[in-house]
Amino acid sequence: MIELSSATTSSSFPSMGLVSSPPRSVCSTTNSTSSPTVVVQTRLHKFPCQEIEKLKQKYRIQHTSCFTHLQNLINKHRIPKCRECGLDEQCRICLDCSLCLCRHHAQQHSRLCSHALAIDIKRLFVHCYICGDVQYDSVFERARRKIILLQQNSSNNSPSSSTIGGICGLLNLGNTCFMNSVLQAFVHAPVLRDCFLSEKQHHCEFQDTNHTITNCIMCQLRQLYHHVHEGQQRSNEPFVPSQLLYLIWTHENHLAGFEEQDAQELLMALFNIIHSQNSNDDVDDEKTCSCIIDRFFKGALQSEITCSQCGSVSTKNDLVRDISLQLPFASSNDECFPSSSYSLENCLWRFTHSETLSNFYCDKCQMSMSANIKLTISQAPIVACFHLKRFQYVKKSRSKMRKKISAHISFPDELDLTPYMTITNFNKDHNKYCLFAVISHFGSSVETGHYMCYVKLQLQNRWFRCDDHCVCEVSAEEVFKSECYLLFYQRMSVEPTS
């Protein structure tokens, strides 16, 4: 259970606008006339803490780097022990010189070296020796909550079994769990195995003369594959996906930076990069593109609009690489399902359920009519990625925090897409899919949450949880109980692809 004890005090603190308020010494009494109580005025003496502001400026700490900074400090002192006396209770880490000391010696140290700030190693609150008290800072608080969330998740980890081949961890480079989860899911798509493992020496089809191993995504992915499958020999050291990260940053600028991002956006970005680097010259004719994305992930949705007046039907096909599903209770119009039965099938049903459009311009009738629109899957891809729209932008808050719908949504191990497909002549057995990866999200928003990927080792039918560099086997129960965000299914009995 996350300890939000500091949250109760934070609500009585002034809004973030005051963080950049005038220095402590200037505490004008003149503007106290508008404040409701005297308390507000005197509190300005202590908050915001000038020492924290100075530290943030000195090390240029912002929301994103604070987490990495704190995480590094904690990792440095996995077994906390006071440098001076060896006591291991209530240790603190000095934020200026990262020494680990017990409370008594930390206080001594702050006097001797004029280092004002320390964090408690267990609870991660910031103590200021000048103010003589714990201080609140929104940047540190956000980092703190995230670290605690991660610690609680990983406390369930057993040490990763170092004898499993075909799976390995990915190092977190600073809020990159969103990328790590997507890479894990991608790497474990059964159909891609042959593509990446067939040749040791890769003759890259990347046409550009600027091709190097670092800027070619296929070469990078190939490197990752080889590391994953030869991991056993290296006692499963985690792979460091720094080049992949850089590649993605340079191609998709909106994902650059050390902020936590949306995993689905990254998935689409990854697809984009692969496609753009590997598509054939005739861009117009999308049907002939032979990149792995178009061969395995491309599907098509058909929208059929029936005019309610004249009955004429207009059909449109859209190519898609994933299917984004609204959650069945997202809008108030949905009273179809009781709150206890949220499932992937419900979402798909809603997706393909016909809806009424009120303002459709019918060519035949030559005016705006109400019409029926029905979406169906006209071409099911070999690998079907389902995206559950859990994150919604909240307009009222000043920050861009995305609110998350945390309800549990069940999903099956095997999925038959037949009921959601366009009715044409097809072999019904070709629409059965098997789950191979699940990306789940933990936490209350994108920015303070964490992604983990569950993958199934096909040959052994065992599930593994990939939590950045920690990989361990888990029960199927844990997988199906998690808050799924992205689901990856592969069609069973795949025909040989051209």
């Binding site: 259970m1 004890s5 005090t9 009585s12 003496h45 202590k46 609150f125 008290d133 714990v134």
Partner: protein, 97 residues
């Protein structure tokens, strides 16, 4: 006599820490305190103290000093009994002490 019990206590403590049992008991204790509503009680008491004394007059340390005696007194007997029973079980299993 007092020396011997102090020695036993030290040995027991060391054994508990070594085997990880102390950490597990701590977790169990945390869980029980939440279940019995002790944490909510303490939270309310903290809020009260802060309201009474005023936010600017209180440091975290002072607050802790204030609430500690009340906290100790408020621990339900059932939890104390359970923790004792747990310890007894542990001792019984590890008689080589």
């Amino acid at each position: 006599m007092a020396e011997k019990s102090a020695q036993i206590r030290a040995t027991l403590n060391a054994k508990l820490i070594e085997s990880g049992e102390r950490e597990q008991m701590k977790q169990l204790l945390r869980q029980r305190l939440i279940e019995y509503g002790w944490r909510d009680q303490m939270k309310a008491y903290c809020k009260e103290s802060v309201k009474q004394k005023g936010l600017e007059n209180l440091t975290v340390d002072e607050l802790v000093q204030e609430i500690t005696p009340k906290g100790r007194a408020l621990v339900p007997d059932a939890i104390k009994k359970e923790m004792l029973a747990h310890l007894r079980q542990y001792l019984a299993k590890h008689e080589d002490l």
